[in-house]
Symmetry: C2
Subunit: 364 residues, 2 copies
């Protein structure tokens, strides 16, 4: 392998693929990036055996070939280079000469034969979104995934397609976040798949302002493709809980909430709390929402906002972090709070297909 690439392109490509590399892999080659020079392309690949990320950049290839180079070190090196072009020349021992301006390195790699091969993949459905739209979907719900739960299926995001509508769901058993959206294109079989949170996070990292992302799902594998980047991931097997039964059939009360003011007051009043089992109480009456918090070692906090509500007086308590999450990931000015009483599940909606359901706390 012998080639010249633009320094900036190589740096960006390395940033896209190296995030999944952990520091303590038992298989040394998993700490390396696979470099493949073919035609006028340089293909970079990394894997942690669950996820495999590949990106392709232009290169002036003088001699085709493959090798692997330690990911952390090559990334550090390229980010410190100051000239425009990087020259790579790998010998048969997988020692790669790396030259940029006056800087001259020799890096010890591992044979490309050691690098895991890609698995066979047969997609049974394909869904296309604008990259920005899908980024928004992931951002609106990812925080509700819990890796603590013993149920493996909850460690991922449910991606369901039915009647040309795509539904993404995340829940940790205490709250549920859901987005429904019509994709740009859909082909193949309807059905449910569960994407591991780690893969969703990697996908979020590569999504950009322009362009489309194609999500292809097989039985046990999925492939996500954007311009120049491909992510292969294992899927989580098993049946996702029936989330529809958690969503109340109707609500008797519905209140417009100003997003920024709400989160500011919620965070301020929560300072009176100490441990994570503490709750914040919302008191609704006379066109006012009061925030109340108290703990035995800090003291008490109280603030309020004006709302449009003159129904019966209502006290309702929440875990402050769970209540804050959807507001933190909302880019609308307002959310609609829907509820029936102090004890039944409460819903938050932002009018763009997003729905959040949370149980009130009873320890009031």
């Amino acid at each position: 392998m012998k080639l010249t690439v633009k320094k900036e392109q190589l740096q960006k490509a390395l940033q896209k693929v190296t995030n999944i590399i952990g520091s303590k892999s038992t298989l040394p080659v998993l700490g390396n990036v696979l470099f493949e020079a073919i035609g006028n392309k340089l293909i970079l690949t990394t894997t942690d055996l669950e996820i495999r990320i590949t990106t392709t950049i232009e290169a002036q290839v003088q001699r085709e070939g493959k090798t692997t180079i330690p990911a952390k070190k090559i990334s550090m090196l390229v980010s410190k280079f100051i000239d425009d072009e990087v020259f790579l020349d790998c010998n048969e021992k997988h020692h790669t000469d790396i030259v940029c301006g006056t800087a001259n390195f020799k890096m010890l790699g591992l044979p490309d034969d050691d690098f895991p091969s890609p698995v066979d993949f047969a997609p049974i459905k394909s869904i296309k979104f604008k990259e920005m739209d899908f980024l928004r979907i992931l951002d609106q719900i990812s925080y509700a995934v819990s890796l603590d739960d013993s149920r493996k299926v909850l460690h991922g995001i449910l991606c369901s397609i039915k009647d040309n509508t795509f539904t993404a769901v995340a829940t940790d058993g205490k709250r549920l976040a859901l987005v429904e959206r019509v994709p740009e294109e859909f082909a193949g079989q309807e059905g449910d798949t569960i994407v591991p949170l780690k893969s969703a996070i990697e996908l979020k990292r590569i999504l950009e302002k322009d362009g489309n992302v194609t999500l292809e799902f097989g039985d046990k594998q999925a492939r996500f493709r954007t311009e120049g980047v491909e992510i292969f991931t294992k899927l989580i097997e098993g049946n996702y809980p029936n989330y529809r039964q958690v969503i109340p059939a109707g609500f008797t009360k519905s209140i417009d909430i100003p997003v920024k003011t709400f989160i500011a007051k919620l965070e301020l009043v929560s300072i009176a709390l100490t441990d994570s089992s503490a709750f914040i109480k919302l008191k609704l009456a006379n066109n006012k929402m009061e925030f109340l918090a108290a703990s035995s070692n800090v003291g008490e906090g109280e603030d309020h906002i004006d709302i449009d509500y003159d129904d019966e007086m209502l006290d309702i308590s929440f875990n402050p972090a769970f209540l804050a999450d959807p507001f933190k990931h909302c880019d609308a000015d307002k959310m609609m709070l829907k509820l029936n009483d102090s004890f039944s599940p409460v819903a938050l909606e932002s009018g763009d297909g997003f729905l959040y359901v949370i149980m009130p706390m009873r320890n009031r």
Copy 2:
């Protein structure tokens, strides 16, 4: 205690005093800020029993008095407040009502009687510097203090005054950083004192662009004063090693080094190294300084800069972090590298009273 203060002033004052508060003090009151309302002033004090920081701000005091309030919580609270004025009202149980705009808190404090009293202090010398100048001095040498060494005296910065010249020294036994500067004013006895690194770091935090700092030293205590802030600190007792004998009497070679380029090449080539015992080799010859580094698991790196040197060829090896430190804390364009051979101590000077002495490594 009952008073009104400007929110911004209170926030700045809390930032100045709360940094020394650790999370795991055995004495609960050390986690609190002492509030004292006297005349038209609010005085805030914290201590970790080694250091005591006091700052004074203007306040409209309606009722004089004292209390203590948990530092972390009051800091969080004030930083989240959005209105201009904060109202504090403390009752006899040391519960303080804190009001800002519509936000209303009650914080549980501890009696001010529990808060440690200041120790008696009799200064025997007083030194005045411009705040910016003293900040520069601390920045140029603090990194050379090692808290790992078993010799307690090396855990601090030697502050010595003689013949109207102030000398600050830090060393970890492997390298030495020193600054000599003439202060704005000096009164009292000549002599040496050792200031704990932690106190120097706190002093750095409060030094600002304008104004003067007065350093007053007693036998076992020192007091550092700027506009509105006082730091009391214990001094480290014992005799500082005779650092003068480490500084070579003369040098046969002297080379101008461009600071930014040097540090860039040094950091780049060091990527070829892995562990902290590794060394980087400088090769001087033919008006060139080559940087060479190699390790058995990463590979080799090499780069160079042009210098003004046509003396004999010289190889000299250094711990790369120790070599980088003075360049990282240098605000001049050039440093002068002075040396005799590959084995004797090397000096770096920036022409403003700063001197750095480092031993070459022998494992070349």
